[in-house]
């Protein structure tokens, strides 16, 4: 078994999860300059939407792949709707008015979501039904590659490229970048600000739901408290890469994934969180705005 390549592969898989979640932080930050601390828990909500859908009778007879796709689509829709409801009822009033208020409200929402899911589904971990992709492992040159490794890295890569394309090659994406530079000027140009804010939240929530479904499908288990630590590390990834910067979120996510794998594989697993947050401090000390820098749109 070639452990070095195995560790790199593992790092890329973990990193893809972090990158997908980091993209959500960065999208919202890029537009409203605020951190949505409930974002990590949207991953958990998506994972539970998916789990609940997979338990339904009418879906159980289907072959695994369409079953996962239906559950995944349901989770994306459900999680996006939740994000929209939260935005309209709680967040909109605070955006642009109170940075502290927004942070505290999203933090409260994070804990509330965890408690609600715990009340509905219980504190025990839930298990996704086994699937061929995650239970089959193929040996490629001494490296054990799981089918889901390829799905996770492939899907995450596609979504990231899609996001970059969206930001630079579509009207909505361009409007979002314009909004990131100057809210008032963008509004004067006739850009529908509240629509774009909603779009950013929906895109972030969709990516979170996809992450939740992928995580459940690959690792098999989901639990009500899976989101917070994941969210915190993904947030760290976004900051390391340069928050507000799509390429930075991807780079930061992969950096953290590889760090985690290498610490486990070569240093001391007991220290992995210490190393990750140590890296955050180091990066911010050397480059206060992250590796790629906090991107302002005109430099994009």
């Amino acid at each position: 078994m070639d452990t070095f390549i195995q560790v790199v592969l593992t790092g890329f898989t973990i990193g893809s999860f972090y990158a997908l979640v980091a993209l959500g932080y960065t999208m919202v930050y890029g537009i409203v300059r605020l951190i949505n601390f409930a974002h990590g828990d949207l991953v958990m909500v998506g994972a539970f939407f998916g789990w609940a859908l997979l338990q339904l009778d009418w879906i159980e007879g289907m072959p695994m792949l369409p079953r996962l796709i239906v559950a995944g689509a349901g989770a994306v829709v459900g999680t996006s709707l939740l994000a929209l409801v939260l935005l309209r009822t709680l967040y909109t009033r605070l955006i642009g008015r109170s940075t502290l208020g927004f942070m505290l409200v999203t933090l409260s929402v994070a804990f509330a979501l965890e408690e609600i899911v715990k009340l509905i589904f219980g504190a025990q971990q839930k298990y996704y039904p086994p699937n061929d992709l995650s239970s089959e492992t193929i040996d490629i040159g001494g490296v054990a590659v799981n089918g889901m490794d390829l799905v996770v890295i492939g899907l995450a890569g596609t979504l990231m490229v899609g996001m970059i394309w969206f930001a630079h090659r579509t009207i909505t994406g361009t409007a979002m970048r314009a909004l990131a530079v100057d809210h008032d000027a963008a509004r004067l140009m006739g850009i529908n600000v509240s629509f774009l804010i909603a779009a950013a939240f929906v895109i972030g929530a969709s990516l979170a739901a996809i992450t939740g479904i992928l995580s459940g499908t690959y690792y098999g288990r989901v639990s009500f408290d899976m989101g917070f630590a994941l969210g915190l590390k993904a947030f760290t990834a976004a900051v390391i890469g340069g928050i507000g910067n799509i390429g930075g979120a991807v780079l930061g996510g992969l950096t953290i994934g590889l760090l985690e794998a290498f610490v486990q594989g070569y240093l001391a697993g007991a220290w992995s969180d210490a190393v990750i947050f140590g890296a955050l401090i180091l990066v911010l000390y050397i480059r206060p705005s992250g590796i790629l820098g906090e991107r302002v749109a005109e430099r994009a």
Binding site: T3, V7, Y127, R221, A229, E260, A270
Partner: protein
């Protein structure tokens, strides 16, 4: 939060009112010498996250008591159970213990969470060493306090490490061992003690001693490192949620070493999390002799009676409560005229019988002289013992 406070206030109110009742009843009847029912306390978590285990303990107690009462009781007197809820926490445990003291029980059987049983044991000690027959609480401190009133029916946490060391070095004949913990206080302590016990053997080299961070989901890098370090056996001392994931990824990597789970790694969810891994001959999990695993005629009888009466399978730890209650009954019957604490605690220590959980007798600290362990793996979708351990003969294959 609010409901929690309401529960606490309620419990406080209950404690106050019962202590008033207790005062009112003072002098009118005496626990030991009277002729009415003999009151026996049951200390168990009836609320909170492990309330199912508390309910299981009460049910197991009732099975014993109802049989004794149907057979004429203790010298003609019936046993009456008084259940006190410790909620698996220190404050409630203290209040529950106070309630039992004021209720004038002759002895208390129970204790599931050590966090509640330890403060409760202090209350019993201060109240004239009220006999405390501890059933499921496994924290070494409980008997290390050397209070004369305590006898314990389950093994001690610190027995797991030497037993696992024997398993790895003697039965599996491992030469290079990796030890992995999950960074919790408990898991680290077991890992440390396991390392010391393995090193004492002199035949085994420790090639890896590290932790994983629970919740990270992907432990393939760590599993690969264990292989690179040349281990022939990996022992995991952490809790079952991560063990399920670990076993699944271990089976996928096929790293060529054995995987041994510690006594906290066993749970039915592991069967769901890693269905392919748990059937492999290279995987085994060390376990206490719990209700579904233990194989002897008494255990069969217990499972049948329990199922018939409650229409459910027994929980994993009720058998210890069952044996503890039987031990108390034996001590009561030995001299039914003398039920005061001073006499009873001596007889509780002298009890000797074959229970569901093995041969039962106690050392001068109140711990079991011989406590059995098992090593299990999955057979036909259920955990079944592959090896069993007894202090006399060590590890051997079960038949």
């Amino acid at each position: 939060m609010n409901s929690n406070r309401a529960v606490r206030l309620g419990a406080l109110g209950l404690a106050v009112s019962t202590s008033l009742l207790g005062l009112a009843a003072c002098g009118s009847d005496d626990a030991g010498g009277g002729s009415g029912a003999i009151k026996v306390g049951v200390l168990a978590p009836m609320s909170g996250s492990v309330s199912a285990d508390g309910e299981d303990m009460v049910r197991a107690s009732k099975l014993v008591v109802e049989k004794v009462n149907a057979d004429g009781g203790i010298d003609g007197r019936k046993i009456e159970l008084v259940v006190a809820d410790d909620a698996c926490e220190a404050q409630q445990g203290t209040q529950a213990a106070q309630k039992l003291v004021t209720d004038k029980v002759v002895a208390v059987v129970g204790g599931f969470c050590s966090s509640a049983a330890l403060p409760a044991s202090e209350v019993f000690h201060r109240n004239g060493d009220l006999p405390f027959v501890a059933s499921v609480s496994s924290n070494p401190k409980l008997t290390d306090a050397k209070y004369p009133g305590i006898t314990r029916y389950i093994g001690r946490d610190d027995q797991e490490a030497p037993v696992t060391a024997d398993y790895v070095a003697d039965l599996l004949a491992s030469k290079k061992v990796a030890i992995m913990n999950d960074n919790t206080e408990y898991s680290r302590a077991v890992a440390k003690s396991l390392k010391e016990n393995i090193e004492k053997k002199g035949t085994v080299e420790i090639v890896y001693d590290d932790a994983i961070q629970p919740g990270q989901n992907d432990y393939r890098a760590a599993l690969g490192r264990v292989a690179r370090d040349g281990a022939d056996t990996l022992v995991y001392t952490g809790f079952y949620p991560e063990f399920g994931i670990l076993a699944k990824q271990w089976a996928q990597l096929k790293p060529g070493y054995r995987l041994v789970g510690g006594a906290s790694s066993i749970d039915a969810t592991v069967l769901t999390a890693a269905p392919d891994a748990v059937t492999l001959p290279d995987l085994s999990i060390i376990s206490y002799p719990t209700a579904s695993l233990i194989q002897n005629p008494q255990a069969d009888e217990f499972r049948t009676e329990y199922k018939a009466k409650y229409d459910a399978d027994p929980g994993q730890f009720g058998i210890f409560q069952h044996d503890a209650m039987q031990g108390l009954v034996a001590a009561l019957k030995a001299d039914p005229k003398k039920l005061d604490a001073k006499d009873l605690i001596k007889r509780l220590r002298d009890v000797s019988f074959e229970g569901i959980t093995g041969d039962i007798s106690f050392d001068d600290q109140g711990d079991r002289n011989a406590f059995p362990f098992l090593a299990v793996r999955s057979v036909d979708g259920k955990f079944a013992p592959a090896y069993s351990y007894s202090p006399d003969s060590g590890w051997a294959a079960t038949n």
